[in-house]
Symmetry: C2
Subunit: 449 residues, 2 copies
């Protein structure tokens, strides 16, 4: 008879802008951050659940405040009831009419809701003693369907169709489980490709990626087309003809500009062109895709909710999509998106990197492989080798593939020491930076921009 007794939030920031890690055409100087949430219970075993929203610095405090504003919907929640109906729990959060006004179902408030829903799934999987991917894969098709909110998507996917997809995938699940445990899930890496990196660093990291077993790398583009041609050529030469090359413009272009630019870069056999324009522009992506065919077009890391994914699929605007573990309304909404993708036959290449995104999203991809799409060899999870050391159960990459996590939960818990050291602005690391700012470090202090 355990109960959730507290929701606590933490404003965690890492001073990554010092090294230009994570720099792209839209985000020149990110400080990778997490608005981190802990749901604690009165269970004598110390049962708790953890979630986070990834941000890139300023505003992480606002994101944490939005999570804290959900406290009244969570505290005193019976844990047995929560675990028995994770769909009802998620709908309680997404349907609070006063909070819904602040989206609806998008932006700061929706991400806050997603982090608490994810923390609840973490708690449920821990309680079951299973990693989240296995917890989901062990649910029956009927149980999975009950977690999904079909509001606003049932014109594209009915609960009955979802059940059909899940029932078909239930066949062969045991063989897929064995394959996943033995080989892991394919990864691709963005580590070589940040815009702030020198040519030499790009070349060196691209070669290292191939040597490490990755079959796909991704580089950032979008600031200068001649520069991009040069960098794509350099990357293609470094990885050789058999490795795939994806490129990512991080929403930099307008529709006409994207078309011109992509035509210049198509010569490098692009595996996919990611985020060519605004993530809101479904029809824009469709227009770009038609104009540059057969270059595969993708988006999704910033797609705000299932309604946008539905339209991307309906409009034939993308060849593949990214999903993000913390942008939408938690596991439930990502299950809706994965089911929509399966219905429309769209491959999913989960977005990761940031803070904890690799840790979380691997579970969704593996659950998809076992219970929904049934495929993994034609897709891959993004991987960036950043900040994993702050997590209690960090991802493990073996020969360019994600090893299936074995620890119970969503891999979302951070080390207490990391939370203490990087809490902004009072943690040890930030106090040191504020007391002894270097010229670069000085620029990342709040209010200094």
């Amino acid at each position: 008879m355990a109960t959730i007794v507290a929701l606590r939030t933490f404003d965690i920031r890492f001073p990554t802008s010092k090294g230009l890690d994570g720099s792209d055409a839209m985000n020149p100087d990110p400080d990778y951050s997490a608005a981190y949430v802990e749901l604690s219970t009165d269970d004598p075993t110390g049962l708790a659940g953890y979630g986070l929203v990834f941000t890139i610095g300023r505003g992480n405090d606002v994101q944490a405040a939005a999570i804290q504003a959900l406290s009244h919907l969570v505290c005193n929640q019976d844990v047995d009831e929560l675990v028995a109906d994770l769909g009802a729990f998620a709908r309680k959060l997404t349907n609070d009419s006063q909070l819904r006004w602040l989206g609806p179902e998008k932006g700061v408030m929706h991400m806050a809701i997603g982090s608490v829903i994810n923390a609840a799934w973490d708690l449920a999987a821990r309680r079951a003693g299973k990693p989240l991917w296995r917890f989901i894969a062990d649910m029956s098709p009927e149980q999975i369907v009950r977690t999904v909110d079909f509001r606003y998507i049932n014109d594209a996917l009915t609960p009955e169709e979802a059940l059909g997809i899940l029932r078909r995938s239930a066949l062969g699940k045991a063989a897929r489980l064995a394959a996943l445990m033995e080989h892991g899930y394919p990864a691709y890496t963005t580590s070589p490709g940040w815009l702030g990196y020198s040519d030499e660093k790009l070349r060196r990291l691209a070669r290292a990626a191939v040597a490490d077993g990755f079959r796909t790398i991704k580089i950032k583009v979008g600031l200068d087309v001649e520069d991009d041609v040069r960098r794509c050529r350099m990357a293609r030469e470094a990885i050789g003809p058999d490795c795939a090359l994806a490129i990512d413009a991080n929403q930099r272009w307008n529709v006409p500009e994207a078309i011109t630019w992509i035509r210049r870069l198509a010569q490098f056999r692009i595996a996919w062109m990611e985020e060519p324009t605004s993530p809101d522009d479904v029809l824009g992506h469709a227009a770009i895709r038609r104009a540059v065919s057969p270059v595969p077009i993708s988006t999704g890391e910033h797609a705000q909710n299932r309604v946008m994914f539905k339209q991307l699929f309906q409009a034939q605007a993308v060849d593949l999509v990214q999903i993000d573990a913390v942008r939408v309304g938690g596991v439930n909404e990502n299950l809706a998106i994965l089911l929509l993708a399966a219905k429309f036959g769209i491959r999913v290449f989960p977005h990761a990197g940031g803070v904890g995104l690799c840790e979380l999203v691997q579970h969704l991809a593996m659950a998809d492989f076992l219970a929904i799409s049934g495929n993994m060899e034609d897709r891959a999870i993004e991987y960036v080798d950043h900040l994993h050391e702050h997590f209690v159960s960090p991802v493990r990459i073996v020969n360019g593939r994600y090893a299936a996590p074995t620890a119970p939960g969503f891999s979302s818990q951070m080390h207490d020491q990391s939370v203490n050291d990087y809490e902004f602005p009072t943690g040890r690391v930030w106090r040191q930076l504020i007391d002894h700012p270097s010229p670069v470090v000085g620029s990342i202090r709040a209010g200094d921009h």
Copy 2:
């Protein structure tokens, strides 16, 4: 040589859930609220600018925190520079890459940015000694175009096309100014139609609206189709055959449900069907519109930014749109939306009500009439008779029309006394409610839901 010296925010809430004013199919018990912002300067005349985000209660503190997070982009801003280039000022706020991550351009952070941009326009118009509608209408076509961010919309509207629209509307501006000053701008009223009202109250208020000179009323629908048929019939009988009847489902339906429901209600000669489904679902609106033709379909009050309006027009998803003064990125983005609407020949019926929405949006509609679309007799601004007494320059309705405001600025300043009394939870009114809760009042205290 004045400078902005402070950005201050206030969490203002009105306990409207006591009377079920503002209740609709999605929002049963709103406490109309405003995250209110003041930009103060060191100008010896006391020059300041005011803006707000309208919310419906819980989360208003999060919205205020998001506005406060913009302080570093605003403080020390030179007022002359601000007024000389309101486009550059707006882009400084929308392009802060770390804050942009929290949207991008949607939800809590985008509305926060919009409120500060609106406060800057208020300040600029006050400084010019003009009401905002006149301040905009007196700008040259080139000046107006410079305030607009064409990013992500130039595939539908180029700066040159926008200039063409504005130059055509510059002809005849003097005659339209005279007409506006003499007759005001048409209004329609939603006061009779809240779902929580009794039949008798609906009938009485509908008759009163016609007697007061309104030519259109709007009622809320969406909870029960038989009930809606009954209420639409009652409203139609009360207003007679010559008054227009609009209906509003506040996003209640899925696409198939909307089609069935609207076919039942079409018999009442609907002027427009507002928000049948998710505001994110451009293709859903297009499908509904095709299926129920010729019933006019509309949305926009919750459309997050200019990219969504662009697509609504491109997809022929709507017959008309609402705009909202505080949902998008301020005056600049609303000018982009009004220019897009003019390009596509879509009529605009601005959303109002709430807290201060009538006060603000009237300026945008009047500026549109003078400088952009050149039309007002085929459109109307929503009007609800709520909470105007808290504003220093409240709207004035004469014979069912908005009288053109004459006070300098955006009509966005609240009385100091109202700010003091309704600040949550420390203001006089809230302290009284918290100390002496009635059963209903008790339910609107933070954390009680």
